[in-house]
Symmetry: C3
Subunit: 255 residues, 3 copies
């Protein structure tokens, strides 16, 4: 049974997600639907792109990842379906898919109205375009059928960590449910240098912990978390609250 | 595989929804369960009725829609199962199902304790009555088996938009997750007149937009949204916050 | 199709739960996954244990209940799988499973890395250890394969209601989504005595209600709720807000 994952900013209070599932199951009753999350901050393309990057490869080959975080719904932005060596991705062409696109085979602009739910509303393409396209794709319809191939799709503007003299300068790019601050400093960059200490909002952290128990309760620590990036955390606490931290706050590593 | 949808005010913090699913799957392991939402405001029958209206027809024929928003649980209110030409509906007889009941074939009061989980608690009929009845119904048990047929079920008291001289007077009946204000003015009523302008809380909106891009950022717009009703929105913003709006606020359309 | 239930404090904003499901389905595509809840307060072992106690027996025999509320992740705490006469339980050995463990057949410490997702991170054992073990268990792998049998697993420190002269002294141990205050006074203890009245935060309640309608609107009532324990509620209201109540608040029953 093919899997379709859903990642949206639709929230859980309304019927948006349930309706998308109804549309998909009306087209392919034999597909399995898995929610990644629907609680992306409204219109937060970077947050969604990051969550997709941390999720897609944990699903079986052939999984269809559908992402609807779409501030441009109803405008001229394109909708795309992307086939990579292992997965399919469907979403608006606003960069939200880009962090997950390894080994791209084909990018197709979705234009074939034969696969839409008509009439197409101007506000709910999740229901009228994305869900039905995912449903048909899961039935084995080839990506070529949804529209014409294109060579380019948009990238996401995520700031990159930089080396500046004897420091790596990064920033917080995502904050999880536990208040952990995920930075844009990934393990590959980090491992090229010897880390002396980490500075965040005036606080120095002197080592990289292997687990949360390596520091005192309620104290800050730096750790490579489940995304593979450097995170600032508080043992048995909430780093977001502790530091009054937000996305964009600077993290500096002395090397 | 038959589908059962769930629409409740049980929230997601507790185990209520999971337990209902356990009961259903214990009766019919081969049913597929889809959440519409469980975040209806506690005991908000109108909100739930509206969400059901906007959801039920996007599911395949034969789907069983189970709604538990039930301030009268444990009192003498009836529980009903309704068969329409395309769907089944199960819930308390408090009007919550009424907006979705097109082409009713049969309404049955649920009284046959053979299909209940016993002992029936006085507080959790979702688990003890509604979930098992949905489970048995999904196995093909006829609606007649659950109790006696009745001719009437309760309607929901949703205020209707009215024509008053050269204006249509409506009101906000639901507010979605994005802060869009959904009114009780539907497209059929609206299209019978020429709309001059829309007034909401002292602000005038001069046209109906086709998509969110037809106004400036952070500005109000009026649009027919995915429910088929007139909505007041803010481009890339939140109309609920912008207007300090609530359910019941008046919308007036000059015609 | 075997069922795996999930009960965590991972929340719904991140991708944690979706990723666990991807890992499980990659191992066993033919398992059914049901969420109990993911909104346990971060690291609230008692709350999770209570929710599990109120949930597990509503699922079919053979169901695998996976609980990840794990403040000790990455430390030396053990991970265990427990086989009882009817179910399987997987989780950290911190007491969170203990309230559900009736008729234990076997407790095994999970150590066999063959069934882990490697490399095992220090922060996300839900993905790297618990989800894959649940996946393999659902395929019929025997519990013995995951590690060595042990005789003991930790109990949860839930305060017990006590008889003190002519009173039963209990306390609030869990507060549900509707603001109902669930106490540690269960029906078995209660039924051994004649209840005169119940005192909570200076308010006296003179009887046990059978349903919510047996008191005036917005008034307090005492009722045996769906957990089988004495609950303090407000008819059509929220007892948590009404009483400014919290977990640990004392309830006293005159007998």
């Amino acid at each position: 049974m093919r899997i379709i994952t859903l990642l949206t900013d639709y929230g859980l209070e309304d019927n948006f997600v349930g309706v998308m599932k109804g549309v998909i199951l009306g087209i392919n009753p034999n597909v399995r639907i898995v929610d990644i999350t629907h609680c992306v901050k409204p219109q937060d393309i970077i947050g969604a792109g990051f969550l997709l990057k941390g999720s897609y490869r944990f699903f079986p080959e052939g999984t269809i990842h559908l992402v609807v975080v779409d501030p441009g719904v109803g405008s001229k932005r394109n909708a795309i379906v992307v086939e990579t060596s292992d997965y399919f991705f469907i979403g608006p062409d606003n960069g939200v898919l880009s962090l997950a696109l390894d080994s791209v085979r084909k990018v197709v602009r979705i234009t074939n109205e034969r696969y839409f739910l008509r009439p197409v509303s101007s506000t709910f393409h999740g229901r009228d375009i994305f869900a039905p396209v995912a449903g048909y794709l899961s039935k084995g319809i080839s990506v070529d059928r949804f529209g014409k191939e294109t060579k380019r799709c948009k990238d996401l503007n995520i700031p990159k960590a930089k080396k500046d003299g004897d420091r790596i300068i990064g920033q917080v790019v995502y904050i999880d449910h536990f208040g952990n601050l995920i930075t844009n400093i990934d393990k590959k960059v980090f491992n090229r240098f010897v880390c002396k200490k980490i500075r965040f909002k005036g606080t120095y952290i002197n080592k990289i912990s292997i687990n949360y128990r390596q520091t005192k309760k309620r104290s800050p620590l730096a750790i490579f978390g489940s995304f593979g990036n450097l995170e600032i955390s508080i043992r048995e606490g909430n780093a977001k609250d502790y530091f009054c931290a937000g996305v964009g706050d600077v993290v500096s590593v002395s090397i």
